[in-house]
Symmetry: C2
Subunit: 251 residues, 2 copies
């Protein structure tokens, strides 16, 4: 790609949108400038452009994003085959086992939920398509990382901010790499309260017809409902069925 095949203004604008994350709904020009590293003048122009287009609101001091911004992500969720293909399977699976079921893919050091069938909520955070969790400590993340070449998986683990969410969280790169090997061997990943106390989850990879892992499927359950062993005996068989049914369908 040539140098001139890159629209700098567009790229800068996108970083400005991403600056509005995690409990930062209202930002001043200076805030955005600091957050993105862009010049104040540039940040201002991007923000005013967003406001002009209706993606942001401006009260003379603070900017905040409007719901119109959701059109951008929605373009992906409504257009991409994966979420639409897996949804009916998720609904059925979730119904059958009486627990929440989800499908996610990898984006950098995080997993991104692309489809979900929720039962009564058990986690402290509310997961919906578009939600993100750190890959290293999520069952689907383990499955997706285990499917990568070792070097890549290690690079992601090392780039992760590996904090111990609970006393059970594995944070050591070596321990995680060993865990990935087990996951590869078993064909599933089991997380026992590593992300949140009282929550267990089990995940399997979803492969396409050519055998490439394109996503992960999981079931999460309150620890009170199912022991670690229960997760495997009660839920894994149904998940295997979905896995097999989806294999020929996925690109």
């Amino acid at each position: 790609m040539r140098e001139t095949d890159f629209v700098g203004g567009f790229a800068k604008g996108l970083t400005v949108i991403e600056a509005f994350g995690e409990a930062k709904p209202r930002l001043t020009i200076t805030d955005v400038s600091k957050e993105t590293g862009l010049d104040r003048a540039t940040a201002r122009r991007c923000l005013l452009t967003l406001a002009e287009l209706g993606y942001a609101a401006y009260d003379g001091k603070f900017f905040e994003l409007t719901p119109k911004i959701l059109r951008l992500g929605h373009a992906y969720l409504s257009a991409t085959p994966l979420p639409r293909l897996v949804q009916p399977y998720l609904d059925q699976l979730s119904e059958k086992v009486g627990q929440s079921a989800s499908v996610s893919v990898l984006d950098g050091v995080e997993i991104v939920y692309v489809a979900r069938a929720a039962q009564k909520r058990v986690m402290s955070i509310n997961l919906t398509p578009g939600s993100r969790l750190p890959a290293y400590c999520a069952s689907m993340g383990r499955v997706l990382l285990a499917a990568l070449p070792e070097a890549e998986a290690r690079a992601i683990v090392e780039a992760s901010d590996r904090k111990a969410n609970t006393p059970y969280t594995k944070t050591e790169p070596e321990a995680l790499m060993e865990e990935f090997a087990r996951v590869r061997q078993n064909g599933f990943a089991l997380i026992d309260q590593e992300l949140e106390i009282g929550l267990r989850s089990i995940a399997v990879p979803l492969e396409n017809a050519r055998g490439r892992v394109v996503a992960a499927l999981n079931i999460g359950a309150p620890a009170a409902h199912a022991s670690a062993e229960d997760m495997v005996t009660r839920y894994l068989p149904a998940m295997r069925e979905v896995q097999a049914a989806l294999r020929p369908v996925l690109a």
Copy 2:
């Protein structure tokens, strides 16, 4: 705002992202150019920029968005107070009545779901935060339109592509305007299979402390579970409670 406070390249890039909508996951440069009205060279530069940044994938022929694009919408959902504030109320409400409950806001001629607590799915489409429905034929849409000045509501109605989803769908602007008046008077909107056969829903406005309508709250139920009258007698009181509880909390 001065002319020069607008970054054209950014605005064009955003329209390129939006071109990937509704069953159009894979687009060529020419497709995007036609869809957006941008010059091919410009569309190409925007697409290559997206690919370079990891927001899109390019196989030499087709472009498709990657899950990274969800970061943009997620910036809104995770940062904006409204979704986070209402979620626990939605969970409780949904649990209490045994039906799905949602909160949405208006964006142009559509409503956008910003939070949802789903029970077993009854609609043919899968609704999640970010999902959109035409305002004129959705219960929350009726409530939000009824809260606007008449002229604005009429403008939106007339700009809508008012197709009759079912035999019950109201599509005449006059009929809709009268309906809005009723909604204003009653303080709620009831949709009886206008969007989809077998689905009823009821919505109330959510006002902030200053009395401004900032969103709408609804409950949807299969027609088999609840008559139109049931919707009002069984669900409305609980919705009123949530409405009252949220009033002092919302900005």
